[in-house]
Symmetry: none
Subunit: 358 residues, 2 copies
Amino acid sequence: MAADKTTPKYVLVEDYLRNQIKKNRISDRLPGERALAAELGFSYMTVRKAVENLVNEGLLYKVPTKGTFIADQKANKTRTRTIGYFLDSRIAGGLSSPYYSMIFNAIEKQATRQGYSLVYFSDSSDSNLQMILQKLDGVIASSFLRIENLIQQMKAIVPVVAIDNSVADKTIPSVIVDNFNAQIQSVDYLCSLGHQHIGFMTGLEDSDAGKNRYAGYKSGLIKQGIEVDPALVFRGNYTFGSGVSGAQYFLELEQRPSAIICANDSMALGAISKLHQEGLEVPADMSIVGFDDIDIARQITPPLTTVSVPIDEIASCAFNMLTSLIEGRTLENRHVALEAHLVARGTSREPAKSEVTA
Amino acid sequence: MAADKTTPKYVLVEDYLRNQIKKNRISDRLPGERALAAELGFSYMTVRKAVENLVNEGLLYKVPTKGTFIADQKANKTRTRTIGYFLDSRIAGGLSSPYYSMIFNAIEKQATRQGYSLVYFSDSSDSNLQMILQKLDGVIASSFLRIENLIQQMKAIVPVVAIDNSVADKTIPSVIVDNFNAQIQSVDYLCSLGHQHIGFMTGLEDSDAGKNRYAGYKSGLIKQGIEVDPALVFRGNYTFGSGVSGAQYFLELEQRPSAIICANDSMALGAISKLHQEGLEVPADMSIVGFDDIDIARQITPPLTTVSVPIDEIASCAFNMLTSLIEGRTLENRHVALEAHLVARGTSREPAKSEVTA
DNA sequence: GGATTAAAGTGCTATATAGCACAAATACAA
DNA sequence: TTGTATTTGTGCTATATAGCACTTTAATCC
């Protein structure tokens, strides 16, 4: 390699490697540092310095004891060691929603532990996205049907991992919960206590999570030989207020359910609040089951029976998948469905006697 | 310098230098690399590697042939149009705390509107702070006594505005609420309904906000000619669970208060939950007043009587102060105290008759 | 054919040594 | 006192060498 008096040798090595990569003469893994030094006629430490600079640029990545690899082209973007969490601004309450704030806390814990900063963003205007995505190495997005186009836009610029719901475009990795089977557990549990007349408050309609929870409720009833009664279904929207409205609805039915399954904890808490206001006792007069297992669910008296979503596992899994993508690696499993389990606490018991004999 | 088997020597040198800089033992220029190597007993190249890493972090800068200097981190910063919100990781629940998530939502709205990204961070380790602050133009910090040193560290690097509590160092701008007078309003209102026996649940002890709310409670009573009874004060910590415990405490008193003022809404909700569980009605049997006005406070049945903190105004004010500082302007008013007002809703009424005649 | 051991390959840390180009400090001569 | 030359100090580039911890590959043995 022709030496140049003014250019440092390590810069010459950098330029040579950049050129090899650009011309696809190296396409996966570099020769080892010692071999490269021998091949180019420079010292081992000079070659190491050049390779390290290319790593810092994002062109290469190193795996100790395994080798030095070409980074995915998308990873050629200037690394900022910052990721983003996107929660659409149309979600009621944004991060004031207890579930999303738990998710966010968990992601922040992972990010901090591995030396990343975490940006929160919710505005979906093109200009805002462009501006923010320039600063990010990748995004974890709480996904809904309504934002699939947004997720496509993000994906064109940075790696994206979807959580809560997967995306129609299956090239986008996702971490979700098996809502369907988790909701069946709630039905099974209530039936095991003797409940036959079980109401359901739905979540949002444009989310697979919401749909799957509802499907799990119906499937669970059918499995128990109980006919699905549309009158026992109230359309909620995951908010405390809609839980209050839902309880009101069920109380006004001629034949009240003896238990209500809510598609999330906020609605369950709203329902309990309303029942108390009407002089009913939980679970003596009506059993309530939630979903998510937010902090308050454990703290109320009695503590809420609910499906516990593995928040830390979702965050950890999504984060690790994202950093793998950022570093140019491919994922072994692009779609992960984690299990959630029912936790029986104090807001459920066998139906009041009058309900059973009726 | 004590060697550690697992920590690379160059990292030990980094930490040593960071520490020297933090303690102002080096304030302008470092000793030369050869001298430093001799002083510390490590090799020249090891010291060079450490110094280079600190240069990459933004702590130092080198001038070939002249030396290595402490970076004036404010002046040298590249603008990123990103601000940070800091909430110490020791705050229970982090952003799952309804008040802080509302604050965060409001800051995010301001930031997005004015073309800024928002990073959330809670970890206070030196390395994390250094790494994150490099990326930020400024910080809004929810302040407590325990993090005053942290705020000093941040201030050395970026402009900082404190919210919730001001800082002993009055050069640091702040936006707070007039907790004292707001809490007096709660006492006045309950007295106007006929309450004479009023309990209080305190917030955190290391916050001026908590102290001022408690001071307002006492001052309000004295103003009404009511003696302050220490038995009517329960030490809470702003959590729902401590509200439950507080209600338990008051119920066990020989002479129960007819009303309870809670230093925040989460404790108020916990108290209500417990009272319902014990078969008492709010406000028929006991009146409850909160502080903050979180979303759920309006949604429960009956809706909570509470002091409404002007969240959007706090966020807007703090954000505008911060961007002024970022842009190099000085502030007309460095310390802003906003008013909060009591909102009388459904959890308060005149005491039950038996309480009045007793 | 499978298990075990040894060898080779990988990036990583660390040190010693040498000399470059340049700036600042010091010594000396006019 | 000023100008010039020399010395010292600064970060920079470069190389050689050594060994660590771990992974992969090859050789050997049963």
